[in-house]
C-alpha cells in the first residue's frame, strides 16, 4: 500500500560544525540517526523525528536544528496539511489516532484575556520583599461555622482533616507507567521541599515513593490499580479520579510495552499486558454511588484523610460539582480540556470538554449560589502555565491549582507530544531503563523547585501589587480581574467586568 504519511520534521545539520561524534545517534531512541559504517556522518531518517529536541540540546557542536517539514499545504484553511495527514494515517492503518500532552488546537485561552489589578492611591500596594506575604492554604472540607470555646481558646468540634500547602500549587496526578519512576521521584522530592503535594496517579504507589507518602495524593481510578488499605492509609490524601481534562468520558489505556516489571508489580497486572482503566468506575453509575465510594475510602482510612474527587471540565461541570460537594468530597478538582495526558485519542483530546477557566468560574459561582462554597475546597488544573495563571485561577475562585505539564517541562519535557510511544528521550514518559536513567531525580527536582519558588515570588509580587497580603483574600476576588476582548456572555460566566469598567 502506498504510504502518504509525510515526515513532520526535518533535521538540519550544519556539516561545518558537526564533528561526527555520533552522540545524536546514541541519544535518539526514535532512531532518527544511524551511525555510518565507514566513519562518516550519521545518516538521518527524518520521518522518525518527533521534535523532542534532545539531540539539539545535547549536540556538543551545536550543529543540529529541527524545522517543520517544509511541504506546503494547498493553502486551504479547511483541508490543511494536518487534516489530510490525519486521514492518510487512518487510511493506512485503520487505527484510532493517538496523541499526547494537552491539545494544541487554537481554542481561546481565557487566562490570556484576564488582566490583573494593582493598587494606586486609594489603597497601598505592599512590598513582598519586606512585608509578610502569605501563600499558605489548607485543603479540606470545613463546617460553615466553627464551634469554639473562647475562654479556653479551643475548638469544640474538631475540623475534618486538612492538607497544609505552603503555596497554592500542587502537582497533578501522573501515574507510574505514564511517567517514569524517576520523574515521579523528582515530583516527590520537589513536593516535600516546597511544602506541597504530588499525586501518584492511578497506577499505585511504587515502594520507593512510600517515604514521600506524607506529601502524596493516592489516586483511586476506575482500574483500581494498586489500591489496598495500605495504599490508602499511607498517602496524605486520596483522590478519586472520575475524569481527566484531556480525555473526558474515556478510560485509560497504558500500552503493554510500558508495563515493565516494576509497573507490573505496582499495578498488579501481568508484565507486558495492557493496563486498562474502564471509562466509568463500575461502582459509580450515579451521584449517590460516588458518595458510596467516597465514604468507603473514609471508612477504610478512619476519616483521617481528605478525599478529593477529580472531574474533567465538561458542559455541566457546575451542577456536577455541586453534587460532588454533597457526596462528602472534601476537595473538588476540576481539570480543563487543555490539560496534558500520556496518551489520549486525538479526537477526544481535541474536541471534548471545556476550558478550565469557564468551568472553574461556573463551579465557584454555583457553589456560592447554593451557600456551600466555603464548606469544600476547589482545585483547578488543565494548563496552568505561569504564576499569572495561578493568580487568575485563585481570583476566579480556586483554593489552589495543580500543574502537570509545566512541571514536566521544568524537568526537560519539550512537549513533542509523543509520550504514548514510550520512547521519551528525556526519560520522563518512558519505562525503558536506558532512557529513564537519563533523568536524575535530584537534578530534576531542583529544577521543579526553582520553578515554583520563582512562581511563588511572582505570586507574592502580584498579590502585593493588589494590596493583598494573604492568598485567602485573593480567592474568589474577581474584582481583581478584568476581561479584555471578551464578549458579554464570556464576562458573565467568568463573573468579571471588562477592562475599563
Amino acid at each position: 500500500m502506498m504510504d502518504c504519511v509525510l515526515p513532520r520534521y526535518k533535521v538540519l545539520r550544519d556539516a561545518d560544525l558537526c564533528s561526527g561524534c555520533g552522540l545524536c545517534a546514541r541519544t535518539c531512541a526514535n532512531g532518527v540517526y544511524r551511525l555510518a559504517k565507514d566513519g562518516g556522518l550519521p545518516s538521518i531518517e527524518p520521518a522518525r523525528c518527533v521534535n523532542c529536541q534532545r539531540c539539539v540540546v545535547t549536540c556538543p557542536a551545536r550543529a543540529l536544528a529541527i524545522v517543520r517539514w517544509p511541504q506546503a499545504g494547498t493553502g486551504s484553511a479547511n483541508w490543511t496539511l494536518e487534516a489530510m495527514q490525519d486521514i492518510a494515517k487512518q487510511a493506512q492503518t485503520g487505527g484510532v489516532l493517538l496523541a499526547s500532552m494537552g491539545t494544541p488546537s487554537p481554542y481561546p485561552i481565557y487566562w490570556d484575556h484576564l488582566l490583573l489589578n494593582a493598587s494606586q492611591v486609594t489603597n497601598p500596594s505592599i512590598d513582598p520583599l519586606r512585608e509578610p506575604m502569605e501563600t499558605r492554604v489548607f485543603l479540606g472540607s470545613s463546617p460553615e461555622a466553627l464551634k469554639v470555646n473562647e475562654r479556653q481558646q479551643q475548638v469544640v468540634e474538631p475540623l475534618p482533616p486538612q492538607l497544609k500547602l505552603d503555596m497554592p500549587i500542587m502537582f497533578s496526578a501522573m501515574s507510574f507507567g505514564s511517567i517514569s519512576l524517576n520523574a515521579q521521584k523528582a515530583l516527590a522530592l520537589a513536593a516535600r521541599e516546597l511544602g506541597t503535594f504530588f499525586n501518584v496517579g492511578e497506577g499505585g504507589m511504587h515502594r520507593d515513593l512510600e517515604p514521600f507518602a506524607d506529601c502524596a495524593f493516592a489516586q483511586v481510578a476506575s482500574g483500581r490499580f494498586g489500591v489496598d488499605p495500605h495504599y490508602l492509609n499511607t498517602a496524605a490524601a486520596i483522590e478519586v479520579k472520575i475524569g481527566q481534562g484531556a480525555k473526558p468520558g474515556i478510560g485509560g489505556h497504558l500500552p503493554g510495552e510500558k508495563t515493565s516489571a516494576e509497573v507490573s508489580r505496582t499495578r498488579m497486572i501481568p508484565e507486558g499486558s495492557d493496563a486498562i482503566s474502564p471509562a466509568p468506575h463500575h461502582d459509580i453509575y450515579s451521584i449517590e454511588d460516588l458518595r458510596q465510594l467516597v465514604f468507603s475510602i473514609k471508612e477504610a482510612t478512619g476519616y483521617r484523610k481528605p478525599v478529593a474527587v477529580k472531574i474533567a471540565a465538561v458542559h455541566n461541570a457546575a451542577a456536577i460539582a455541586s453534587g460532588m460537594a454533597r457526596t462528602g468530597a472534601d476537595i473538588i478538582v476540576v481539570d480543563g480540556f487543555r490539560g496534558g495526558t500520556g496518551a489520549a485519542p486525538k479526537r477526544i483530546r481535541d474536541a471534548v470538554g471545556i476550558p478550565v477557566e469557564l468551568a472553574l468560574a461556573a463551579i465557584d459561582q454555583r457553589l456560592r449560589d447554593e451557600g456551600i462554597r466555603s464548606t469544600v475546597s476547589l482545585v483547578a488544573s488543565g494548563s496552568v502555565r505561569n504564576s499569572a495563571d495561578v493568580v487568575r485561577a485563585i481570583a476566579l475562585g480556586a483554593d489552589a491549582v495543580s500543574i502537570g505539564s509545566a512541571a514536566l517541562i521544568a524537568m526537560g519535557c519539550h512537549q513533542c507530544g509523543d509520550c504514548s510511544s514510550g520512547r521519551c528521550n528525556w526519560g520522563i514518559a518512558t519505562q525503558r531503563p536506558a532512557l529513564t536513567e537519563r533523568l536524575d531525580p535530584q537534578a530534576a527536582a531542583e529544577r521543579v523547585v526553582n520553578l515554583l519558588r520563582a512562581w511563588t515570588c511572582e505570586l507574592q509580587e502580584m498579590m502585593g501589587g493588589m494590596g493583598i497580603n494573604a492568598v485567602d483574600s485573593l480567592r474568589g476576588n474577581r474584582l481583581m480581574l478584568r476581561g479584555v476582548g471578551l464578549n458579554e456572555k464570556e464576562l458573565e460566566i467568568l463573573g468579571v467586568k471588562h477592562a475599563g469598567e
Partner: protein, 399 residues
C-alpha cells in the same frame, strides 16, 4: 439633584477615604451630640463634603424594645410604598418626621422619617425566621426594591443621622445636640468620584450594628462573595457594608463574640501562629481555615457600634491611623489624636490602636453579663437560602 448621570454606590464600587471618631460612657450615662460634633469637625481635611454622619446608642429609651427605622425618602411615592410595606409586616407604635433644621450647607435633603415598630405577631412566626433575620430581610427588600427609599438604620434604641455634606453640617441639620446617647460614632467621608448620596453616607448600619470605617480594603470581593452565600445583599458595594455583614455573620449568626469576630477578620499571621504553643496554634489554625474568606485585607480602621458598646479595629499591617484615650468612664476614639483632645483635653492613656488587635469597649453591665455566660459559641439557626425555600428556580443576580 446634581449630576444624575453620575454613579451612586450600588451601581459601581467607589473607593473612599475618611475621618472617624467615637465616644462612649461605659456606665451607660447619656451625653448629647455636641462633643462628637466638635471632634469630627476638627478632622474636616479628611472629608470632602460628600458625606457625613453619626450613629447614636441609647437615644430612644421610651421605645427601647421596638425597632427604630430611620428611612430616607426621595419622593412621596417612595414613602407611600414603604409605609404600605412596613404596615404589612410590622405593627407601628409611632411614626414621625425626624426633626431637622435648615442649614445653608445642606442642599436638597430627603424627607427623613422614623418608625417605632414591632414585627407583625402572625407574619413573624409564619416566616420561620428569627426576629433579626426577619427585619434584615425587610430592610434588604426596601433598599433594593423601593425606588427612592432607603432604610438608614434599623436597630433598637439607636439611630443613624447621615447625609451629603461635611459631618458637622449634617450634625447641625439633624440637631444631634438634642439627643442623649451613651455612645456616639461619627464619620466624615472622602469618596473619590461620586456626588455622594444620602443613603450612601456613613455610618452604615444593619439591625443594631453601625460601622464607621476609614480605608479601602483589597479583599472586598472575596469578602463580598463569601457573605453573599449566606443571604446578605451587598447592594451598596462598599467596604463598610461588607464588614458589617461579616460582623453580623460571625457574631450574631455564628454566636462568636465581637472580639473573636474581629480577631478572625484580622487573623494572626502564619508566622505568628507557627511560633505559638501547639494548642494555641491549632486553635488559630482552625479559625483561619474555616474563616479564611472572612479575613479582611488592605488598609482599614473601623469603629463598630452595637448594643454592647464599641469595638475598634485596625488592619493587620496597621495601614490606617486610629487613636484611643480614656477619662473616667468615658472612652474616646478618633483618626487623629487632636480630635480627642479637643473635647477632652486631659484624656488619659492616649495610644494608637494596634494592627490586628481588637479594642473592645463594653458597657459595664454587658461586661459583667459576659463573664457569667458560657464561653462556647452557639450558632443561631441559619437563614434558609433562596434555593431551599423557593418554589421556582432563583435567578442569579448580575455581578
Amino acid at each position: 439633584m446634581a449630576g444624575r448621570h453620575l454613579h451612586r454606590e450600588g451601581t459601581i464600587r467607589i473607593p473612599s477615604g475618611c475621618a472617624i471618631a467615637a465616644m462612649m460612657d461605659r456606665t451607660g450615662g447619656r451625653h448629647d451630640g455636641t462633643d462628637i460634633l466638635r471632634s469630627i469637625a476638627l478632622m474636616r481635611d479628611r472629608s470632602n463634603g460628600l458625606g457625613g454622619g453619626f450613629a447614636a446608642y441609647g437615644i430612644y429609651p421610651d421605645y427601647a424594645e421596638l425597632y427604630a427605622f430611620h428611612v430616607m425618602y426621595e419622593s412621596r411615592e417612595a414613602r407611600a410604598a414603604t409605609e404600605a410595606y412596613l404596615e404589612h409586616y410590622y405593627l407601628s407604635e409611632k411614626q414621625e418626621r425626624v426633626p431637622t433644621e435648615d442649614h445653608p450647607a445642606i442642599k436638597n435633603p430627603p424627607d427623613v422619617w422614623r418608625y417605632f415598630m414591632a414585627p407583625h405577631p402572625m407574619r413573624l412566626p409564619a416566616s420561620g425566621l428569627t426576629e433579626a433575620e426577619y427585619t434584615m430581610r425587610h430592610v434588604f427588600h426596601i433598599n433594593s426594591s423601593i425606588d427612592g427609599a432607603f432604610v438608614a438604620s434599623s436597630g433598637k434604641d439607636m439611630g443613624v443621622f447621615k447625609g451629603v455634606g461635611y459631618p458637622e453640617d449634617i450634625g447641625e441639620f439633624y440637631r444631634i445636640g438634642d439627643y442623649g446617647a451613651w455612645a456616639w460614632t461619627a464619620h466624615g467621608r472622602f469618596p473619590t468620584n461620586t456626588p455622594g448620596w444620602w443613603g450612601g453616607a456613613h455610618p452604615f448600619t444593619l439591625l443594631n450594628w453601625s460601622i464607621v470605617h476609614n480605608g479601602e480594603i483589597s479583599s472586598y470581593d472575596a469578602n463580598r462573595r463569601y457573605v453573599e452565600q449566606f443571604g446578605y445583599d451587598c447592594e451598596l458595594q462598599t467596604d463598610t457594608e461588607v464588614i458589617t455583614y461579616l460582623f453580623d455573620l460571625l457574631a450574631r449568626r455564628h454566636g462568636l463574640s465581637q472580639e473573636m469576630a474581629a480577631h478572625i477578620m484580622t487573623a494572626p499571621s502564619w508566622q505568628a501562629i507557627d511560633a505559638m504553643a501547639p494548642d494555641q496554634a491549632a486553635f488559630e489554625t482552625a479559625l483561619r481555615t474555616v474563616y479564611s474568606s472572612a479575613l479582611v485585607n488592605g488598609p482599614f480602621s473601623i469603629i463598630l457600634g452595637s448594643e454592647e458598646g464599641l469595638l475598634a479595629l485596625n488592619d493587620r499591617l496597621k495601614l490606617r491611623a486610629l487613636m484611643a484615650a480614656e477619662k473616667g468612664p468615658m472612652v474616646y476614639l478618633a483618626s487623629e489624636q487632636a480630635a480627642i483632645e479637643v473635647v477632652c483635653p486631659d484624656a488619659e492613656h492616649m495610644r494608637s490602636i494596634e494592627g490586628g488587635v481588637p479594642f473592645v469597649v463594653q458597657l459595664d453591665e454587658v461586661a459583667r453579663r459576659r463573664q457569667r455566660e458560657a464561653a462556647e459559641s452557639c450558632a443561631v439557626r441559619e437563614q434558609p437560602r433562596d434555593h431551599e425555600v423557593g418554589v421556582r428556580p432563583c435567578r442569579r443576580k448580575e455581578a
